[in-house]
């Protein structure tokens, strides 16, 4: 049975069902079935990081996971990190620091950084550099990306402090 079958998950807080062939990757399901085209596909074999999305709190390569493997999972894509009218903390910092040029890698980097800072709001520059090494950017030279992520840390620390109170 290689024909389409339903997969149920939560995407950016809303329940979603897609009918996809088993070979469909999570990234393709998000883009083609749900039209969440903010997630980009670069290499499609797990090297470039452009397709990074967050599954149950962990950043993963959307091209290295089958949609079927996300059954019952909570998925967050770049569309879940803010909107044009209300940018998220990372998005604001990326704009301020010119942390993107062509923008192709940006969605993956934002998803990666969001997962990192949600988990480790005190991540230091070395840790940020190590984590972001899994995302290829051929425009910026990374320095503005690192500056933006470092600046956004404060917003994530505040979230954690509020949650603790």
């Amino acid at each position: 049975m290689t024909s389409a079958r339903p997969v149920h998950f939560t995407v950016n807080g809303a329940a979603a069902t897609v009918a996809v062939e088993p070979r469909t990757t999570l990234a393709d399901a998000l883009r083609n079935e749900l039209r969440l085209t903010g997630t980009h596909l670069g290499c499609e074999h797990g090297v470039c990081g452009a397709c990074t999305v967050i599954v149950d709190g962990a950043a993963v390569r959307g091209c290295l996971m089958l949609a079927a493997q996300a059954e019952g999972c909570e998925v967050t894509t770049v569309e879940g990190l803010g909107s044009a009218a209300h940018l998220g903390a990372l998005q604001l910092a990326f704009r301020k620091h010119h942390a993107l040029q062509c923008g192709f890698c940006t969605a993956g980097i934002l998803a990666t950084a969001h997962a990192l800072l949600t988990d480790e709001p005190q991540a230091d520059e070395d840790r940020i550099r190590e984590v972001i090494s899994g995302n290829l950017c051929r425009c910026t030279g990374y320095l503005p990306i690192i500056a933006a992520i470092m600046e956004a840390r404060i917003a994530y620390s505040d979230v954690q402090r509020e949650a603790a109170q």
Binding site: P22, R23, T25, H45, A58, V60, R61, A68, Q69
Partner: protein
């Protein structure tokens, strides 16, 4: 590079997974994290007609540490290892090696069982398993068998696994507290596959002499391997700069890497020598004189 058409079965139990594998003969492949298999599928290097997902099996996700050693369920991820604070004490060599495995996103899904079953010649986990005499538990239609890591890997991306068999756990013998050890590898980018790597450890007797030396290498042959000649050279010796340089020379002579697009054979051989020098110097806590 979309994946080839295939069927997908998400197994609820280990026996269900094995039955599914057996029913499809060699046409089924086990998937868990998928961090090695999915690129293989994208490139059509593997084209199974069925994937059997063991990612949701209970009981294969634990790390247990006892006097008998450390047992890793096959579904333990690199992130699980990184976050287990006990391992820095319980097996510092493994913890150091796993710090080099892949990038952040891949570390969240990649599993120790998958890494062993994939058997990439440059991968850290198979290297540590071979260096440390790990034992793998394998379950299939004919029951359970235990295979040492050295015999498990039979060549590049090749293992003794039968079509209906699954690696369920990996056992590492207990780590001695005073053991001297180091892991060194070189990759162009941290997280990429190593051009070469070395895992080394030895114990020290009352006279300060090394015994039970283990030296394993990755990325310089079709599979991870120990270097018995180098180990013999270390055993019974005080590990000083002279011994380290002799060991590095012996290591260069012992390996026969192939040329590939990443590095020429001569470069890899030389790199291995340098990495072994660094590893042994770090293990012995000495600083080698700068090369002239």
């Amino acid at each position: 590079m979309k994946l080839p058409p295939l069927d997908y079965i998400c197994a609820a139990t280990l026996s269900e997974a094995i039955a599914a594998l057996a029913a499809h003969g060699g046409n089924a492949k086990v998937i868990a994290g998928g961090q090695s298999l999915m690129p293989m599928l994208a490139f059509r290097l593997a084209a199974p007609t069925v994937l059997v997902d063991i990612g949701r099996l209970p009981d294969l996700k634990t790390i247990s540490i006892s006097a008998e050693g450390i047992d890793f369920g096959a579904l333990v991820t690199w992130r699980d290892i990184e976050r287990d604070a006990r391992l820095a004490q319980a097996h510092p060599l493994l913890a150091a090696a796993v710090a080099h495995v892949a990038h952040y996103q891949v570390r969240n899904r990649g599993t120790v069982g998958g890494s062993m079953a994939h058997a990439d010649p440059a991968a850290e986990m198979p290297g540590i398993a071979v260096t440390c005499d790990a034992m793998l538990t394998i379950v299939g239609s004919n029951g359970c068998r235990i295979v040492c890591a050295d015999e498990f890997i039979t060549g590049g991306l090749s293992t003794v696994l039968e079509a209906d068999e699954i690696v369920t756990s990996i056992h590492l013998p207990p780590w001695k507290k005073a053991r001297r050890w180091a892991f060194e590898e070189f990759a162009r980018r941290r997280g990429d596959f190593a051009l070469a790597g070395v895992a080394a450890f030895y114990d020290i007797d009352a006279q300060g002499l090394a015994f039970d030396a283990h030296v394993g290498v990755i990325g310089v042959a079709d599979r991870p391997a120990r270097l018995p000649g180098v180990e013999a050279l270390l055993n019974g010796r005080r590990i000083d700069a002279d011994v380290i340089l002799q060991a590095a020379t012996a290591a260069r002579d012992a390996v026969d890497p192939a040329d590939d697009i990443h590095a020429e054979a001569a470069y890899r051989r030389d790199l291995l020598g340098v990495l072994l020098e660094r590893a042994l110097a770090r293990a012995a806590d000495i600083i080698l004189p700068e090369a002239a």
